[in-house]
């Protein structure tokens, strides 16, 4: 690698697709060992930038501008880039970067071998050493499995190890830690920062979330509609002395409130009563609690901590080994299927994976289905309810015949809320509702859900790994760790005085310290 110039210099890069400008006059200079975070909403142009730098442009991309690596000659960005430096690509494990039917270890070894131009045996050893540095729990033996058997955090560590083993000059991180949960994101960002310090590689981190700039610090380039809005130090941009758009973007970053709030009194009849419900592998994993009408409860914990097992037992998705679940004064487990269905219509789901929506259905059919299935209403009334619900979530102007599969994640999430609204549920189960959304999308959805709760007063059962989400949607919480409930109580109390280490770790994961200018917090 040449030492005479910047590691990467992009000049006047333009990317357009079918006449639509995706990136306009984008320039960036990155010195060796420097990091830059490209921040923006979905469709702001960061994806197009990565496609060009990564060497995998769309066939419809129209590209102009030039790119130079390591102080070398500028080359047209439209031509195939042949960088004289080693570039590593760090994808998000949730974007399914691995071939599904091959061992993760084998796939990573091949990548390292190709990057280093080394034999497979040597690459395997490099990968093993990198894994040893990063994590004790993730071993080559563990990775010798198909990707479907490995959790996303394990895959993220494996991907970072492969990047590190390739000793790159420049790393392109593509939303690399998005949606892994605050605790995992914090750990992964710490590992990435440590590897960067050790190997001295340049880093271009493309993200729509605010955790990376807040934790990594350094230079941030804010993109909007293909143009650079602002460029500067993360600490300054987060301080409020920034462009109005940047300030708005950073205000979307949820912050924990540690102020004592007056708890809402429990009111109404009990809606969900759980008596000694078994939900875990051990006999002592049983739970008793009560959720009143209009109340809210968050099940907080990292992925794999047992929250979903409890949820599935609660809602009788799976038969619980012991205990009773009483919903609206009726025991769900003793009812016939038909009677249980009548009761279940007062339950709604909103999930971060959008898997409760049938992708084949149209937007209108999705909203109308609960009304048609449960109530004998005229078409005119159904259309009225549908329009009201779609207006509430901001989807009324969308084509009603569009299939769900063609909607963006943000639209799908709002569609779920609209479907929940028309059903007038007594209980809304909300599972990682902000997953996969950019900062603005998260803010809007949080407001839509809060508005839904205020106007319809359903009880909320929130499953999340993020205490900021729990705090904005619920008053009480149960904290899960390694399959057990370790703490329960009012969220305000847990935030002020967490008793358990797991609760403290979850709170620390979303507490963002003020950044000194030019310095990373991790």
């Amino acid at each position: 690698m040449s030492e005479s110039g910047p590691l990467l210099e992009i000049s006047e890069l333009n990317v357009a697709q079918d006449g639509e400008t995706l990136l306009e006059r984008f320039s960036l200079r990155l010195e060796a060992g420097e990091s830059a975070i490209i921040l923006g909403e979905s469709g702001c142009g960061k994806e197009a930038l990565l496609r060009v730098l990564g060497g995998f442009p769309d066939k419809n991309d129209s590209i102009t501008g030039s790119i130079a690596f390591a102080g070398g000659e500028s080359r047209s960005a439209a031509k195939r880039l042949r960088p004289p430096i080693r570039i590593a690509y760090l994808p998000n494990p949730l974007s399914q970067p691995f071939a599904p039917h091959a061992s993760v270890l084998d796939q990573l070894v091949r990548i390292v071998a190709r990057k280093q131009g080394a034999p497979l045996g040597s690459a395997r050893e490099e990968l093993r050493l990198a894994l040893e540095r990063l994590s004790e729990a993730v071993t080559p033996a563990l990775l010798d499995a198909k990707p479907g058997r490995l959790d996303p955090v394990t895959q993220a560590i494996a991907l970072l190890a492969a990047v590190s083993a390739g000793t790159p000059d420049l790393v392109l991180a593509d939303h690399a830690m998005a949606d892994l949960g605050p605790g995992a994101v914090r750990m992964m960002l710490e590992l990435l920062a440590a590897e960067r310090k050790r190997l001295g590689f340049g880093l271009l981190y493309v993200t729509g979330g605010l955790q990376p700039p807040a934790r990594l610090g350094g230079r941030v380039v804010v993109l909007r509609a293909g143009r650079v809005v602002e460029e500067g130090d993360a600490a300054r941009l987060m301080s409020g002395h920034a462009h109005a758009y940047t300030s708005l973007l950073f205000r979307a970053l949820p912050q924990l409130s540690f102020e004592a709030v007056k708890p809402r009194p429990a009111r109404g009849q009990p809606l969900l009563q759980v008596h000694a419900l078994g939900y875990g592998p051990a006999p002592q994993d049983s739970l008793t609690f009560e959720l009143r009408r209009g109340a809210s409860l968050a099940l907080v914990g990292e992925d794999g901590s047992g929250r979903r097992a409890l949820l599935r037992a609660l809602l009788a998705f799976e038969h619980a080994p012991a205990g009773r679940v009483i919903f609206d004064a009726v025991d769900l487990n003793v009812l016939s299927q038909k009677m249980a269905a009548r009761l279940r219509r007062r339950i709604a789901f909103i999930t971060g994976t959008d898997e409760c929506l049938d992708p084949r259905m149209s937007l209108w059919d999705t909203v109308e289905e609960p009304l048609r299935a449960h109530l004998n209403l005229t078409g005119e009334l159904i259309a009225g309810y549908r329009e009201t619900a779609l207006k509430r979530v901001g989807l009324a102007s969308h084509d009603g015949d569009r299939p769900v599969a063609s909607l963006s994640p943000f639209d799908k999430r709002r569609l779920q809320v609209a479907r929940a609204i028309v059903g007038a549920p007594l209980l809304v189960v909300i599972d990682e509702p902000l997953r996969g959304l950019d900062a603005f999308g998260q803010t809007i959805l949080r407001e839509v859900l809060t508005d839904f709760r205020i106007t319809h007063e359903p009880a909320f059962l929130v499953v999340t790994s993020d205490f900021t989400v729990a705090q904005s949607l619920a008053e009480e919480a149960m904290v899960f760790h390694e399959g057990r409930i370790v703490e329960r109580g009012a969220i305000a109390d847990i935030l002020r005085e967490p008793r358990e280490a797991a609760s403290k770790a979850l709170i620390e994961a979303v507490r963002l310290p003020a950044l000194p200018p030019g310095q990373a917090s991790v």
């Binding site: 269905a341 219509r345 789901f349 929506l357 049938d358 259905m361 449960h374």
Partner: protein
């Protein structure tokens, strides 16, 4: 199935266009034919294709163009009847049966799976033997139904996550069935019908060729090919043109179905 979606779409469109042309030809067969069905012309036996008889004449001096058109008309009409039976008793029933209580659904799947493993031609011959030749289209449709049932049954994803969530919010099984029929069966109806049409055409023609299906004086392409056996080596046109019409009908139906006839799910 074609490798690229574009090529597959073009082939399917060509198949449907071909079926459309055949439908027009069949509906106008009485006008296009130069002679009524079975009409003989003395002195012109086994005449080679010429201006007066583009497809030649057969042993009885009948104009082969007219006979082929009449034969295509009858074969296509019977095949359409049989395909309708196969779609209703096979495809539609399979899509509905998948939503029945699991033990019942799996039992039905097992029974239809056994019938699907038996050659449909033998089932047709058996059914004709138990009833009458008149019911040959019905028999062929019923014989093709098990495979259509298995395809439609296996196509329904009853364990989908969205269905699980729908059940958890009290959406009845009937509504979920409606979803499948609306979005899945409607989408695959064209290919199911075209596949059934191809299968029933082959079954009916083969049964007639072997003497188990239509009998004279009925006009059927399989029967016409069988009748041309005696003179085929000396007068190729007596069997070649009916065979060509049969090939066109089956090829168009298979193209319309996406060329996946014979594939098991």
């Amino acid at each position: 199935m074609s490798d690229t979606p574009v090529l597959g779409t073009v082939l399917r469109a060509a198949g449907w266009a071909g079926l459309g042309l055949i439908a027009v030809t069949v509906s106008l067969s009485d006008f296009l034919a130069r002679a009524p069905a079975g009409s003989t012309q003395s002195g012109a036996m086994l005449h080679a294709p010429c201006d007066a008889h583009p497809f030649g004449t057969d042993l009885l001096g009948r104009d082969m163009l007219s006979e082929t058109l009449h034969g295509l008309s009858q074969t296509a009409f019977h095949a359409l009847l049989g395909a309708a039976v196969a779609v209703l008793c096979g495809g539609l029933f399979g899509a509905v049966a998948a939503r029945l209580p699991r033990p019942v659904a799996l039992t039905l799947r097992g029974v239809f799976g056994i019938f699907a493993a038996v050659p449909a031609l033998l089932l047709t011959i058996l059914a004709i033997g138990l009833s009458a030749r008149f019911y040959a289209p019905l028999a062929a449709g019923l014989a093709a139904a098990p495979l259509a049932f298995v395809r439609a049954f296996d196509h329904v994803d009853i364990d989908s996550t969205h269905a699980e969530y729908a059940r958890a919010t009290g959406i009845p099984a009937l509504t979920l069935l409606k979803r499948d029929l609306t979005f899945e069966f409607r989408r695959m109806l064209g290919s199911v019908a075209a596949r059934a049409l191809a299968a029933v055409t082959i079954i009916l023609s083969t049964a007639s060729f072997l003497g188990f299906g239509a009998e004279p004086p009925a006009r059927d392409l399989g029967l016409m090919i069988a009748a041309g056996k005696a003179s085929y080596l000396t007068a190729w046109w007596t069997a070649a043109f009916p065979a060509l019409a049969l090939i066109l009908l089956i090829l168009c139906a298979r193209l319309a179905a996406g060329l996946d006839e014979g594939e098991r799910p």
